[in-house]
Symmetry: C2
Subunit: 577 residues, 2 copies
Amino acid sequence: MRASQYLIATLKETPADAEIISHQLMLRAGMIRRLAGGLYTWLPLGLRVLRKVERIVREEMDRSGAQEVLMPAIQPAELWQESGRWNEYGDELLRVKDRHERDFCYGPTHEEVITDIVRNELRSYRDLPANFYQIQTKFRDERRPRFGVMRSREFLMKDAYSFHVGPESLNETYQVMVETYSAIFRRLGLDFRAVEADSGAIGGSKSQEFHVLASSGEDAIAFSSESDYAANTELAEALPPKGERPAATETMQEVATPDQNTIDQVAGFLNTTPDRVLKTLLVHAPKKDENSSDQPLVALVLRGDHTLNDLKAEKLANVAEPLTMASDEDIRKTLGVDTGSIGPVGLKVPMVVDHAAAHLADFVCGANRTGYHLTGANWDRDVALGETADLREVEEGDPSPDGRGILEIRRGIEVGHVFKLGRKYSEAMNATVLDENGKAVAMEMGCYGIGVSRLVAAAIEQNHDDSGIIWPEAIAPFQVAIVTLNGHKSETVREAGEALYEQLTQSGYDVLLDDRKERPGVKFADLELIGIPHRVVISDRGIEAGTYEYKGRADEDKQDIPADDIPGFLAARVKAH
Amino acid sequence: MRASQYLIATLKETPADAEIISHQLMLRAGMIRRLAGGLYTWLPLGLRVLRKVERIVREEMDRSGAQEVLMPAIQPAELWQESGRWNEYGDELLRVKDRHERDFCYGPTHEEVITDIVRNELRSYRDLPANFYQIQTKFRDERRPRFGVMRSREFLMKDAYSFHVGPESLNETYQVMVETYSAIFRRLGLDFRAVEADSGAIGGSKSQEFHVLASSGEDAIAFSSESDYAANTELAEALPPKGERPAATETMQEVATPDQNTIDQVAGFLNTTPDRVLKTLLVHAPKKDENSSDQPLVALVLRGDHTLNDLKAEKLANVAEPLTMASDEDIRKTLGVDTGSIGPVGLKVPMVVDHAAAHLADFVCGANRTGYHLTGANWDRDVALGETADLREVEEGDPSPDGRGILEIRRGIEVGHVFKLGRKYSEAMNATVLDENGKAVAMEMGCYGIGVSRLVAAAIEQNHDDSGIIWPEAIAPFQVAIVTLNGHKSETVREAGEALYEQLTQSGYDVLLDDRKERPGVKFADLELIGIPHRVVISDRGIEAGTYEYKGRADEDKQDIPADDIPGFLAARVKAH
């Protein structure tokens, strides 16, 4: 492509409304433009990247044995009523009435449509397993679309749906999809993790998310230093400390701690550290009687330096869901004590103790007397331990739950999700096939999504520097840029540029020939912003010396290469993908 | 692809609701399935064809220098209000409100969005010309969607928009697009014509339609036997007959023609032919006074065997638009004669005579006396000729308007359209660039559409027989089918099939290995229905004789080919594209 005949719409200024780096760089590099909230046009340069991502996703899905289809974006309400989602799904579902006032929606996902197709087309266990996918524009009417194409309303998605007789077949295809996703993200050149996840609103029993690691990610991910274990920190198990609890050595004493209300304040006042202080949180327990206004409390006890994990707490039988903290007023009314002075010793409500807190000896805790704490307290000797559980968020350095290595925590951007749906849709929509015994059975289903447009933004979040984007080879809009210096004045330079451009294009490279009438500094800045991996500069001086100048996008230094060696040099540098 | 692992969803019965052959065959071959009125899912086999068409369109658009973009499907109402189309566009525009009750539409076309982008991104004549295209799912809420993907509500379209300073640049790009479209349809292997067309509702000055010729086409197209001339018959000019009008030889006589009301009846009764009888049609002329209820009449005179062309009549200054015929009652009231007996001689209303009618001598016409006609009438001698014009539909055998060859008439399916839009949108939306003198000028625009999904149906309308589809090579879902006879019983056959499948796939062919456990007849019928161009059958008997059986989809006969020669044989038969 010749830059003089191509829309290079770079911006010098960072747009004020772009909060995250990928959004800023996509606007500045001229990849996208905003049409309205959450709606973006892909300009030529951005679309080249999107199409390369799409192609890799398609090739790997085909290789996995999945069959590509294309379902309508607009779906009739009747199918969503059959599955129950017409009412369940909130305002994110864009509802539409056609000219005859019939109800439709712009599909955010296609479980209903594919289930309808499969129940009509497949009749026998012999037709299964089958896995259908599409790459399609979806719409979710986000309340607050933001971050450019990272969380837009219209977006390109790869969604796949598999159908099975029995859970074993589902397990197999699910595993094939996990491997396919890994192959896709590897080919894209991204650092990613497959993590255990909560399956959320789509329903079903098991799911994993695929995250691209980037400091700006919305999710925190814990993964092992030595194994494949990875999980959203919300779901990662904190193992109980190993070994016996240390023996008590101190005598329990009540000490005045006036105006010391937080863990840090108490620890500092008593000249100890937060990990030796207990934190006692009071939350609501389930009501004993639905109609009663009486809301019983339960205490959750953690080490002072640990953070309560709400999801873990909600799983406890004696904690009300959703988790709600008792108010200071409730606590004073029930226990006659200010919140900052609560502790396990002599506590009048039931209590669940986190494993790490249960492993402490000679700890500090509230004295259940306003303005006082206990020091040298010990489980069993001073207070019965009772129920223990995993209540806390994991932390960097915790042992990995699979027993291998320790946990690291990094932030991630969710770009893929694989679910086992089970029979949720097939039962609701009566999607059956005949099994080997001629009996109609509801099919097991899996579903597998990849945010294709989001992947472009995630790749940038992971790969950029102060000058702009640093594309992984496989998805760079162009692999090689040729810059002609003063090409509009020097015919020699112009001809050398054209000749190299033709040669490299013939060899199958995606080449951008920057033949614009711009100053060298403008061209270099644009190409670094756009992030083209390999740059070759042709100048009069270089031609005289018989060399062209090469610089890789991530390289510190440029180097002069004999002009004739450039094709061979590039062949060694440009990675096959 | 192995058929055993692929959705071959063929149907034996022709679905009752499918009116045209392409709709029937796409359903029967398992290419598409209906989700709701005008909404179709593309099954794997159909999508393969759609993607091949899409790829050819993209490659040729890229080659033309157009730049691919992707605009949002959902567009804000504000832009449509700026262009004026929010109110002009009828019920076909699917209007949508988002969760904040803001107005949007599902774009049926993207003039407003691209004009908005270009007015923001391009500033100078130096940035022009520019041509942007996208391949995208569109929605038009047809009142009566029908004929499958031929006239569906959701469809895949390639739309392109070019921007220029001045009409000359627009002319150049318009011509490039005409050539690009021709290249696309040639590569698709379709018999097509580029025809002059009325530009319709999108506005603008000049347009051409591209039609795939097929007997089921909605439009009649006249084209020259010897030149590139082609036009919708509505727009094709009928040249005046050459040479002088023959001299009068008969005497005019009034004859009784009781109960002879049609041209055919009169001609038969008077023992002549319709081409010697004049047809005098009374239509409304424009009112002289807007407020008057008086509606004057004007007579249009044609040869009895010719058909009035409404568009041509409407262009006459003394004919009211839209064209409306006078009622029998009006005619009796104004002229005192029954409709069947009207004629030019002594007629009391103004008259326009078609060129062919004006060239007759010794003709028959109504006598303006109920139940009577005149024979041997002649222009000038018996009645002044006055105004003549081209009023009739062209007919097969007419001379081509460009003076080269004669007209043939075939039916066509519109699959592409190129328009010169001029400054309609750029002026309404204030889309200007600075010209060479630094003056802001509104850009000239062109727009260029191809119905990508419709093309698939049109290709079938043109290429089928009683057994099914006969795909042009370039867009066949698979190029070659290998059928293994009794492969589930004979390991020799199975292995030979697998070996040939691997060999041909490695050579770059799209191959379907029909390894299903089905009877040979079922396989053959399915493959003919699906329309795969080349079929190789492997059987035990063939292997013994050292031959495989080959049959081209359109061939009468099958032939035995030495097994080893098959790759070379196919290389010669399968066209490169």
